[in-house]
């Protein structure tokens, strides 16, 4: 715990709604403790703005411990800011120095409209899942869990893939605004498990179709998604997605 506070110079993207153009506004924030989280720093700025009678900065946030995936802004050009495998809420101000200038922007992704300031509409990710990111099993009739053994290595790998929090950083980091890592994580999670085999081919085809229709770009192997992912989803997932897709379009009759 440190007692040295900082003064920071923020450039924050302000945009009234989806229809109007936005622009950067400058704010000076004093008394920032290094132990504050990035969102707590924004909270403090919003309190200042309220006292000046100014419109508060809108941003998404909820759990503030890196699991819900609600938060996420681009900080000095990096989704979720500096630091490996951290969400914006887990980023602490000790990563900055007194006098630093910080540029804060929303995710810049065609399929994610800016709603206001730093908040964007990520419902496109829900739509990718709706297209097939599930196992069709109804409540009430599942077989005994241990009747289907799954090797520890397979279960662990599936868990690595299932760890995605749907924050959108992968698409925000990608120069093509691609949702490949997001879709690949879910396709991989379900393709790896025996439970996911029945709909495996159809799932890959449908999710990728939805992704294209929603306006996400394609993958050109830059790897920025993997670098920005707060949950460390490995880019190998995209290789698996491509295999799944190829297998699907070559061998599936639907």
């Amino acid at each position: 715990m440190s007692s040295n506070t900082m003064t920071l110079y923020l450039q924050v993207w302000r945009q009234k709604n989806s229809n109007e153009a936005g622009a950067f506004s400058n704010y000076e924030v004093a008394n920032v403790s290094p132990d504050m989280s990035f969102l707590e720093m924004l909270d403090m700025l919003n309190e200042d703005l309220a006292r000046q009678g100014l419109d508060p900065i809108q941003y998404d946030h909820d759990c503030r411990e890196g699991i819900c995936g609600a938060c996420g802004v681009v900080i000095n050009g990096e989704p979720h800011g500096p630091g490996k495998q951290t969400t914006t809420c887990e980023l602490h101000m000790r990563n900055f120095k007194n006098g630093d200038a910080i540029v804060i922007e929303p995710w810049r992704v065609k399929a994610f409209a800016v709603l206001k300031d730093l908040a964007v509409d990520r419902s496109a990710y829900d739509k990718i899942i709706q297209a097939g990111g599930f196992i069709k099993v109804n409540y009430g009739n599942a077989p005994e869990a241990n009747s289907l053994p799954v090797g520890k290595d397979v279960a662990d790998l599936a868990m690595d893939m299932a760890a995605c929090i749907g924050c959108g950083a992968c698409a925000a980091a990608c120069k093509n605004a691609s949702a490949m890592l997001f879709a690949a994580a879910k396709i991989s999670h379900l393709a790896l498990l025996p439970q996911g085999q029945v709909e495996r081919k159809k799932r890959a085809a449908n999710m990728i179709k939805a992704m294209d229709e929603l306006g996400f770009g394609n993958c050109t192997n830059q790897g920025l998604c993997e670098d920005a992912c707060p949950k460390g989803i490995n880019i190998n997932a995209i290789a698996r997605l491509n295999r799944e897709y190829l297998d699907s379009i070559l061998t599936c009759n639907f």
């Binding site: 419109d55 809108q58 699991i67 819900c68 709706q130 498990l193």
Partner: protein, 642 residues
């Protein structure tokens, strides 16, 4: 006094093992063709809300599901780390449904309903099967079977887990099933919409008024039944392990419409969260109870010992849980652990810069099992700790302190999970069911999933079957919708026009401090009376001095202001309930009701009941109704973990 009611939970009678099956057989059904004509409104999309929305849609009902977040996948069920209980007895350690039932009732200090708690223990096995079928990647043994671990308050290993992200994985399973139904057109999903009122027609819950958090537009939604599954209300304490949206506003909306609020004073203060780092802190991150399987809690034996932890020799450390509770050691239930930690700190043995913390040490576990094993079990939690505190738990012990974590209280419901308003059902943490005065670790995912996926689909169908012919045909032009929308609109205008000097967050922090200091881990009559006075002052000032910036469109401050207003009223109710419950039980520890050893002293003669509060007006004292609890299957005994 004649206004005080004895509430009937409509529980079955007779042998408890067959009660749910017998009860279910007696429930009404709706034939598949008629289900298509009925619509259920579900508020909240976590395990209870998302589960019931998905399950009812699968059955053929039309469902409209609402969340204040931007997608159902972020609901707060996601944050449960450690696991979900089920008495599968895979480890062959003599577990059974009966034992899970027994542990839950005892853990709750005999303040829950036996019949519903038994049903919970029964349904738990089904959760594991269901989640596995949905593709939830539970942790497994090398042979491919599911792994288990232990949690506090029990002596068997019955907790299933997906690393430290069990809640996330269970929720994603439920979310994916919900998305399947959205894709099928059976669920209409409303995101970023906040319920601001319940609409009742002919005395029955028939709809809600929502505010679109993007445009600010008020909307009317009607249906044939309403399910409320909006989680708990730990944010009443401002600082808690919960997400920022974990407020009780939706329950308070229903409470003010006549739904009873049950046992609001039963709040779990979780022993192992990160300590407060400064006044700016907006939440205290939880360190899962699973850590107490391997971590040992201690303080220096000497008061005010300033040495770094690793410099304090073994014989100068007080492992106070192991000393005081040798049978359970570091795995005592949460309420007992939190009190023991507070007592260690209050007696001058606190550690760290603020001295308001104790150590949770993994040194011995790392020596015993190796770094790799500990990393595999707890890696993500250790990383989380390092992000926040800037120290590595692999090298120095964690510093932890208790904070608000779970509200056992909530809206009163009967055995069918229906509130005191016909047609309003409540599930998960939003209701008071199952956990009595204290919830055991890994029992919350169990109860939310059970309600959502297995109980509500059955009991809501019964209500619709009973009322199918008599429910009036309505639409959103009905007078009651007009009235409700107008009252919401007036409320927003009122808050925006106060133009005072203090932000909602400032008021919220003040409320939280009163709640934690006076309605927290240790309570007394004097403290509670003081709390009621202080909260009443905050309430009065709120209506005079609130400063709200921005307009009535997308506005993060207005969202807060509406929720804080409800939190203040809820805080008042929590303090009042704590004052009237003149006994200590579970997490409700009244220092004026303790035994010779300082342990909680229950009063079964006078308080073996659920208190259910009925709203009487903004400045009136609410009525305290009673649901008497009967224990025919488990003997009412003193809860001891020594």
């Amino acid at each position: 006094m004649s206004k005080i009611k004895q509430l009937d939970s409509n529980s079955p009678t007779g042998p408890i093992e067959t009660a749910w099956d017998r009860h279910r057989f007696g429930l009404k059904l709706v034939n598949p063709a008629n289900r298509r004509k009925l619509k259920v409104i579900v508020v909240g999309t976590g395990l209870a809300g998302g589960g019931s929305a998905g399950a009812l849609a699968e059955m053929g009902y039309n469902v409209e599901a609402f969340t204040i977040l931007d997608t159902p996948r972020r609901s707060h069920s996601i944050a449960a780390q450690g696991g979900v209980n089920a008495a599968k007895n895979y480890p062959n350690d003599n577990d059974s449904i009966w034992r899970l039932f027994y542990d839950t009732v005892k853990g709750g200090d005999f303040r829950s309903n036996e019949y519903s708690t038994y049903r919970l223990a029964q349904c738990a096995n089904n959760i594991i099967d269901q989640a596995t079928a949905q593709g939830v990647p539970f942790s497994r043994e090398y042979g491919g079977t599911l792994s288990n671990r232990s949690f506090g308050g029990v002596q068997v290993s019955r907790t299933f887990y997906a690393r430290g992200q069990t809640g996330q994985q269970l929720l994603l399973g439920v979310y994916q099933s919900l998305m399947k139904e959205v894709n099928r057109g059976k669920v209409k999903l409303h995101t970023r919409k906040e319920m601001l009122d319940l609409v009742m027609i002919d005395g029955k819950a028939r709809g809600i008024i929502t505010r679109d958090l993007v445009t600010g537009k008020l909307e009317r939604h009607y249906g044939d039944a309403v399910i409320l599954a909006t989680g708990g209300f730990c944010k009443t304490y401002y600082l808690s392990t919960n997400a920022m949206a974990s407020n009780g506003a939706s329950q308070m909306r229903c409470y003010e419409k006549g739904a009873y609020m049950a046992n609001p004073c039963f709040t779990q203060i979780h022993p192992t969260s990160l300590p407060v780092m400064g006044p700016f802190m907006s939440k205290q991150t939880l360190m899962s109870e699973a850590l107490r399987n391997d971590g040992r809690i201690w303080v220096p034996k000497a008061k005010g010992d300033h040495r770094p932890p690793n410099d304090i020799p073994e014989d100068e450390r007080d492992y106070f849980l192991e000393r005081r509770y040798p049978s359970f050691g570091n795995l005592t239930p949460r309420d007992i652990t939190s009190r023991a930690i507070k007592q260690a700190v209050d007696s001058g043995h606190g550690v760290g810069p603020t001295k308001v913390a104790v150590y949770l040490d993994f040194k011995d576990a790392i020596k015993r099992d190796g770094l790799t094993t500990i990393k595999e079990k707890y890696g993500n939690l250790f990383d989380m700790y390092t992000h926040i505190v800037d120290e590595s738990p692999y090298k120095v012990p964690m510093r932890i302190y208790p904070t608000a974590h779970f509200t056992m209280g909530g809206l009163w419901v009967d055995y069918n999970l229906m509130s005191s308003i016909p047609g309003l059902f409540v599930g998960g943490e939003a209701s008071y069911e199952y956990h009595g005065a204290n919830r055991l670790g890994a029992n919350s995912l169990m109860s939310a999933t059970t309600d959502g996926c297995f109980v509500l689909p059955t009991t809501v169908s019964n209500y619709l079957g009973e009322n199918f012919k008599t429910l009036a045909k309505i639409d959103d032009k009905h007078d009651e919708f007009e009235k409700a929308e107008k009252s919401v609109k007036d409320r927003i205008t009122r808050l925006l026009n106060i133009k005072g000097s203090k932000t909602p967050n400032q008021f919220h922090k003040e409320l939280g401090k009163v709640m934690f200091d006076y309605v927290g881990i240790e309570r007394t009559e004097e403290k509670l009376k003081h709390a009621i006075e202080e909260i009443t002052k905050i309430k009065q000032l709120y209506h005079k001095d609130l400063l709200l910036s921005g307009d009535d469109a997308m506005n993060i401050e207005l969202e807060r202001a509406l929720r804080v207003e409800d939190s203040i009223n809820l805080g008042l109710l929590m303090a009042r309930d704590a004052l009237e419950r003149k006994e200590s039980c579970g997490a409700h520890y009244r220092m004026d009701f303790v035994d010779d050893e300082g342990e909680a002293q229950r009063d079964d003669e006078n308080f073996c009941h659920v208190a259910a509060w009925e709203y009487q007006g903004q400045s009136e004292v609410p009525l305290r109704h009673i649901e008497q609890l009967k224990f025919n299957n488990i003997a009412l005994t003193k809860r001891s973990y020594k």
